[in-house]
Each structure stands twice: as C-alpha cells, then as structure tokens.
Subunit: 315 residues, 2 copies
Amino acid sequence: MGGTNIRTAAVSKNGEVLLVLRAPARAKGTAAETVANISTQVLALQDAARRKGLGRALAIGVAVPGPLNVRTGVVYAAPHVKAWRSFTLRRNLERVLKRTVIVENDANAWTLGEYWRGAARGCKNVVLLTLGTGIGGGLIVDGKLVHGRSGMAAELGHVCVEAEGMLCDCGARGCLEAYASASGLCGLLKQRLHVEESELPPRYLDRGGEFSARGLTRAARGSDTLAIEMFEVAGRYLGIAIASFINTFNPEKVVIGGGVAGALSLMRRAMMREVKARAFAAAVAQTRVVKAALGPEGGVVGAAFAAMNTPMKAR
Amino acid sequence: MGGTNIRTAAVSKNGEVLLVLRAPARAKGTAAETVANISTQVLALQDAARRKGLGRALAIGVAVPGPLNVRTGVVYAAPHVKAWRSFTLRRNLERVLKRTVIVENDANAWTLGEYWRGAARGCKNVVLLTLGTGIGGGLIVDGKLVHGRSGMAAELGHVCVEAEGMLCDCGARGCLEAYASASGLCGLLKQRLHVEESELPPRYLDRGGEFSARGLTRAARGSDTLAIEMFEVAGRYLGIAIASFINTFNPEKVVIGGGVAGALSLMRRAMMREVKARAFAAAVAQTRVVKAALGPEGGVVGAAFAAMNTPMKAR
C-alpha cells in the first residue's frame, strides 16, 4: 500500500508475479476504512486468482508505507495514512481476512524483493535506498533483513550528511533525504533560485504544475545547467552517505531505487567521487552501487517473500 | 594485541578472567617476530594456567588491532603493526601453536566482550564505539556480530559527520574520528590555538609532554574553558553520529569505551542534544547510551567468546 494506490499481487513460490490488481488507496479514510479497503483488494485478488486456476494463497504479506513493529504488527505512524498512529494493522487485517498476515515496512519489503529476485540476488550484505518523495532504506546483514529492536532500523534517509545542512521533513538538519529525494531536490532548487515551489520555472514541473524528479531529470538531460548542478549536489551527498554505509556494512551491493534513481547516471560521477574519497579502498573494491532491478512490484514481491519465510511461531 | 602491549588472558567458559599476563608487543618487528611474540605469550599463559591447576585451553582467540577477514584469518593492514599487510596471521599462529586459532578485530572482540559480560548483556542490537587514539566500532545485529562481506564492517569512526570537516587520519574529511578521538581532539585544539602539537600549552599534555585525552580531561575538570569547549565539540559530533546509528540500527544500547570515554560526562549534554534533535524519538526512547563496563580486558574476553563460539567447520 502506498499513499496513492494499493497494488495487490499474486506471487508464486519462486517469486514470479502472476497477477496484479491496482486500486486507489483512499489513504485519508479512517483506520477501519483503510483496513476494509486493503481486505477488499486481497479478497478480489484471491477471487481473480481462483478464476485463473492459480489456487489459494499460502501466505499474505502487506508492505506498509511507514515504520512498524514486525513482531506485533503495529504501525507506529505512516506519513501518508494519517489514521495509522500506533495502529494494530496486522490484527485488524487478520480479523477481516481470517488468515495470518505478515506486515513489513515498504522499503524493507522492497529490499527483500531485490534480494530474492532483483539486483541483490546472491548477496549476503545489502544496503538499499529508495529515492522517492522521501528516502526509505533497507538493510540485509549476513543474509537477514535488519529490523533492530522494534522494527525502526534502516531509516537510511535520516543519516546526517551535513551537520548544519538543509532542513529535512523529519525536523533534523542535513539528513540525506534533504538532498537526494524529490523533496530534497525541490528544496535545493528553491533555495538556489530564492523562490517558493509555486514560483519554480515550468521546465522543472510536471503536467500538473508540480515539481517532480522526472521534470528535473528531463531538464538535466536537455542540458539545463541548473538541473545538472542539482543532481550533482544530490549525487555528492548520496556518495557521502554511501561511503559511510560501505565503512559500516562492507556490503556486496548498494541498490538504488525510486523515482530519483531514474537520474542515477546524472548523479553517478559526483557520487562515486565521494565514495572513493571517503570509504576504505579495500571495501569499496568489494561493493557495487547498482540500480534496483524491480519496478513498482519490488514491494509486493518482498512482502510475499516475508510472508512465506516468517515462521508461524514468530507470528 | 595492541600497538604497545600484548595482553594474554585465561577466560573461563562463563567469561571470568582467571589469569592475565602482559608483555611488550614489539609491534615494529617482522611478521615472523610478531607471531613468535604472540605464540610465546600464549604458551607462557598455558604454562601458568597449568601450574595453577586451570587445565588446558579449549580454544584460542586473538584480538587484532586492524581490519581482517575472520574467515581466512588474513589481516589486511594494522596501523600499529607495519609488517602485517595481507598477512595470514591465523595460519602462522596455528603452525606454531599446533592448535586452531580464531582471530578477530579488536573493536569487534571488545563488542563481543561487552555483549557477553559487560554493558550490553541481554541486548540483541548494539553499537559500540571505542574512542581511543582513533575510533573503532563494533556492531551486533539481532544477536550476531556484523562482519560484512569480508570482515571490514563496523568502521564506525569513519562515518561522515561534517561533509567538509576536519581532515581524518584515513585521508577523508569530516569522519567522526577527526572529532571524537584523542587525535581528533588534538587536531581541534591545534586548529583552535593555531599551533603545532609541540606548542600546545603544557596543561593539555601528559608527563611525557604529549597530548593525551587524559590531560585534556583533567584540564576540563579543572574548569579550563577551552578544554570544556573541545569536549562539547566532540560530544556534538558524537551525538550526530549516534543519531545516525540509532536511525540505522534501532539498537537497545550504544556502548562507549576507550580513553576518551573517561570524559563522557563532559560530552554527554552536547551529545544528547544532537541525538534528540536528529534521531526518531520513538527509537531514541528505546536506546541507552552507556559507558563500556569492561576495561582493558574487554578485548581478550571477547576474543575468548569468539573462539568458543565459532563452529569448527567455519574455521
């Protein structure tokens, strides 16, 4: 579930996506309405799967846009779903679906997806960054997803890359998210032009008249020097963060996904300059920084993996 | 083994230190000489243990001051032992001792020590920082030490806390080590006073006329405003790094050891201000930042733990 859409997918034991449904998320509804909305989609998918002769679901996993406790199934808070504040999502879903449900943070789920079927296949140590409106993160250490004490680990968009830097949406200064996310790029551009978002030049906006990473990417590819510069700044801070992650995790892969990753080639030079200047050379030599292989299905594939691989006793 | 001394200890199955020997490390010798020196100490300890009726060693673990591959037992490079460059330390020790040996990085070993018998007992997710001449780190995630792909993980002194900050001994700018280690504090003081190390005021020096964290701590406790300010700067950057670690690991404990940790009370206010301003409140509420409980024995206790808990097949 995202802030806009719910994507429901039937995923085979091997990680193939057999069937996908999409519906509006209605994320502004009450908690009960969101539960009803998700459940309806799951049931609709089950019906569709049965009609196609795909059989019954073995396990149900839900990828959620917010930090949560995987053990208790409680969502602490979801920026796009206001009704979810310390919300017992899993139990509510289980009550309606009359089935065991696994909930996982969406960036964590995507990480599992890339690990199972995507860019991080065969790796034991993986750092994933999703550069979207904000920045989500996921970590695999020695073949296992990192949850921390209660599921709040891997908030990699909120590591500090500039002590007194740009203000982040989280309230802190100089987070990676304040530079290398769509909202960070928008902030950099506003600061550089001394304007409000509504006053940004149309060449950086999408059709709806709003700033988007896609608009800025298009401008940069069209040789707009300011757009190019913005991606260099973002790439530089992305490189600073990745260098710290390499020194912290000695990973095989750093996987970059999300809308801003479409501009990875525009950021790569500045990014790799910082990585090489800051991380230990022997560790850098063992790490590949790559684009995510799965598209919007990354989350559902990973949620399926989590659901299939969580032992019953831990549920 | 450190840069100055070799400490050899007999540790019981429960983690009690039964017997300790100390000898000069002779770290400047050839690789063969360092191996002979360590082996001699191990054999001397075994003799002493036998005379005391403590029996024979079940396992031998060595804590090494440098990054290494725990699987192969190769030390990549040790700043204080110049002869160790891609050195097959484990096999060389095993040849002399005619026994299986486990090697582990010293900060990792200390982390295991704190986890087993110290400040992190009962925790599943731990971040350890050793604030000495440099800064070492250790990570426990879900009850297991983090090695990364080849043992170079947890170089936590080399996460960036200030993009264009102080130059670190590693060659990068703005590493945590450049602020919150003894050498970092020395660099801050030199920069502030515009002097070389030899010109630092005697009140910051030890008896040998060299800068030491202890000298600076003594001056700060004696109300020296500059010394107090230096610890506030170090505390601030320590807090910035710890905030990032909390957002990354959602740990139960952050454990601070090493000589500079003696001044933790002088750094704590600035440190916690940054932690609270930058890390997610729900995660901060679950984390305690504490001093290490084990003294210089932390490393040997952890090396013993590693030796006892490494399955034979992985050796």
